[in-house]
Symmetry: C2
Subunit: 194 residues, 2 copies
DNA sequence: TAAAAAAACTAACAACTGTTAGTTTGCTTG
DNA sequence: CAAGCAAACTAACAGTTGTTAGTTTTTTTA
C-alpha cells in the first residue's frame, strides 16, 4: 500500500537525519543508515531512489515550513516587535520538533544538487522578508535606528543555532523559551539603571 | 630547509581549509586539495602525514587561540559589560582573519579523532568561563536578572556564526563591527521610548 | 489458504578513497 | 659544476562508496 510505503520511507529519512546531525551528510553511508535500522543497504532502495533524495526531502520540506510560517507572520498587522516575537516562536517551535533535520538544513544544504538553486531562492527570500520586518520597525521607531544587517544577522544566527541547544534543555516549554529568547534578543541583557 | 617545508605545509592547510568551508571535511578528497594547488595527491604526503592531521591543525590551533584570548579578558579587572565587549571584539577579530578555519571549527570538530577529547575540553572550558562572566554581571546588577543560559547561548551563537557573514561585508572594520555588534547583543534592538 | 504485494536478502559492479613505494625533476649551495 | 635535498611525479594498493539485478522471505488481502 502507498500509506505503508510512505511510513517506511519516512522512517528511513528520520534515521538518516539523526545520523546526518552526528556526522554530516557526506560522512554517513547508506550502510550506516541501513545498520541503524537493522537492515542491509540494498533494502533501502525499495523505498527511496537515492541518498540524494533523502537529503532533499529533509532540507526542502523544512525550508518550506519556515517560509510558510514567516509568510503568515508577515501578513498579520501586528507591530514589528510583535512580528519578531512571532518569528522567535516560529523558530523555537520548528527547531524543537526537528532537531535532526535542522542540522542538515544548516550544514548540508550545499550537497543538494538539482534542488540547490531552489533552496537558495527560499533562503534568500526568507532573509529578505526578515530584513523588511526589521527595517519597517526602524521606520516606525519601534526598533532602534542602528545597522539593520547587524540586527538581522545577530537574531537569525541565534535562531538558526537553536537546534544545537534545545536538546540539552531537559524541560522544553516552547512558549517559555520563546519568551525568554525574545526578551534577550529584543531588549538585550544590559541592566540599564539610568 | 625546515622553514620552507613549514611554508608549503601551511599552504596545504590553508587550501584545505578553504575547501572544507565549501563542502565540509568529509566531502573534500586529498585529490581535491591537490588539484586546487596544481599538484597530485601523492605529493601532499611530502608535507603532511594524513588528511586527519590537516583537520587537527586547523581546529586545535584556532580553538587554542580563542582560549588564550578569553583568558586574557577574564584576568582583567574590567566590568562585566566591558568584558563582554572584549569578547565580541575577540571573536570579530579572530573570525575575520580565519573565515575558512572557522567553518571547520564549527562544523567538522566531530571528525577529529585522537584530538577530539582535547577539543571538547577546550570548548566546555570556554563556555564555562563565558558563563561565569555573565553570571558575575548578573550578581553586579550590570546584567539583567534573566536566564543566564539563554543569554550565553544567544550571544555565543551569534559570535560563532560570524564567519558566515563577515566575508559578505565589503569594508570590514573590526573595531566598527565589534562596536555595532556589542550594541545589539548587549542593549538589544528595542527602541524603548517609555 | 492462496495470491499478491511489500520488504527484506545476496552478490556484485565500477568508481572513488586515503595512502604508500619508488622514481624523477629542479633548485640551492659549497 | 657537482652534490644534496625539497618537492614533484607515476603506479598501485586495499578498502569503501552508492547503486543495481535478481531472488527469497514476510505480511497483507481476497
Amino acid at each position: 500500500m502507498k500509506l505503508k510505503a510512505e511510513t517506511r520511507k519516512s522512517e528511513i529519512i528520520q534515521t538518516a537525519a539523526k545520523l546526518f546531525k552526528e556526522k554530516g551528510y557526506s560522512a554517513v553511508t547508506m550502510r550506516d543508515i541501513a545498520a541503524e535500522m537493522g537492515i542491509k543497504a540494498a533494502s533501502l532502495y525499495n523505498h527511496i531512489t537515492s541518498k540524494q533524495e533523502i537529503l532533499k526531502e529533509i532540507i526542502i520540506s523544512l525550508a518550506e515550513t519556515f517560509t510558510l510560517g514567516l509568510q503568515d507572520i508577515q501578513k498579520s498587522d501586528s507591530s514589528s516587535i510583535k512580528k519578531l516575537q512571532d518569528i522567535v516562536r516560529l523558530h523555537v517551535s520548528i527547531a524543537s520538533q526537528n532537531t535532526y533535520e535542522m542540522a542538515s538544513l544548516n550544514n548540508d544544504w550545499m550537497h543538494l544538487e538539482e534542488k540547490l538553486k531552489y533552496y537558495l531562492e527560499l533562503r534568500l527570500n526568507y532573509e529578505a522578508e526578515f530584513r523588511n520586518i526589521i527595517a519597517q520597525g526602524v521606520k516606525n521607531n519601534e526598533i532602534v535606528n542602528g545597522n539593520v544587517e547587524v540586527m538581522l544577522f545577530s537574531i537569525l544566527s541565534t535562531l538558526r543555532s537553536l537546534y544545537l541547544w534545545i536538546p540539552k534543555k531537559e524541560e522544553l516549554n516552547v512558549e517559555n523559551l520563546s519568551e525568554q529568547l525574545s526578551q534577550v534578543l529584543i531588549n538585550g541583557i544590559n541592566n540599564k539603571i539610568n
